[in-house]
């Protein structure tokens, strides 16, 4: 059972554009929603994360929007750069207890100059 659905599968934007990646979850027990960035040949690295008690979080050019009632969250990348070209994964887990992180299927982003 896929508990975190992610779309789109791939995305191409021009430099300066604002790519948006969307995720939806099913398990209402989730209370921690991170986004990971993965470059080819590397492991995923935490980009930004949000708890469900806030609707938006910004860190630099990256913003998470969170809609608890719809069980959806999204990543926006402002002023995207070619160096942002990577695969992005949304994820969900619980903070307390023994942590099992459930990942989405990933979005391959290409930012063209």
């Amino acid at each position: 059972q896929q508990q975190v659905k992610q779309s789109p599968q791939s995305l191409i934007v021009q430099k300066g554009g604002i790519p948006i990646i969307n995720c939806a979850y099913e398990n209402t027990a989730f209370d921690y929603f991170p986004w990971y960035q993965q470059f080819p040949g590397k492991g995923p690295a935490l980009l930004i994360a949000i708890r469900p008690d806030v609707s938006e979080k910004k860190e630099g050019r990256f913003t998470i929007s969170f809609n608890k009632s719809a069980k959806q969250f999204s990543l926006h990348i402002m002023d995207s750069q070619p160096g942002d070209s990577a695969t992005y994964f949304c994820a969900a887990s619980t903070i307390w207890g023994y942590q099992k992180v459930t990942f989405g299927t990933g979005t391959k982003l290409q930012v063209i100059p």
């Binding site: 903070i95 307390w96 990942f103």
Partner: protein, 117 residues
């Protein structure tokens, strides 16, 4: 400060063989989780070790087993390899001690790429 280190980086096995992958967590971390990432897919949780015990397990058969040592390093063992076990195996470390609970952040190694022929 060394991050998460994994070995080997690449290996090739044949069906039916057994493999052992190793992981050293980030300094100060006490919890190790293992994930399997098939090509073009998101990481899938295999299991998590804390205080040398398996604490949570994903939907993986008993052919997948692990161990955590007193120095927090960990091993992943896969027996009776199948073609479908070909994947990138990722180790992630985190800390339960530093924040009095889960910090929520996983630090991943670069993975061990296993090819089963």
């Amino acid at each position: 400060d060394a991050g998460v280190t994994q070995s080997p980086t690449h290996l090739i096995k044949t069906r039916g063989q057994q493999v052992t992958l190793r992981c050293s967590p980030k300094s100060g971390h006490d919890t190790v989780s293992w994930y399997q990432q098939a090509l073009g897919q998101g990481p899938q949780f295999i299991f998590q070790y804390y205080e040398e015990e398996e604490r949570q397990r994903g939907n993986f058969p008993d052919r997948f087993s692990g161990h955590q040592f007193p120095n927090y390093s960990s091993e992943l063992n896969v027996n009776a390899l199948l073609l479908g076990d070909s994947a990138l195996y990722l180790c992630a470390s985190s800390s339960k001690r530093l924040a009095g609970g889960n910090t929520g952040e996983l630090f991943f190694g670069e993975g061990s790429r296993l090819t089963v022929l």
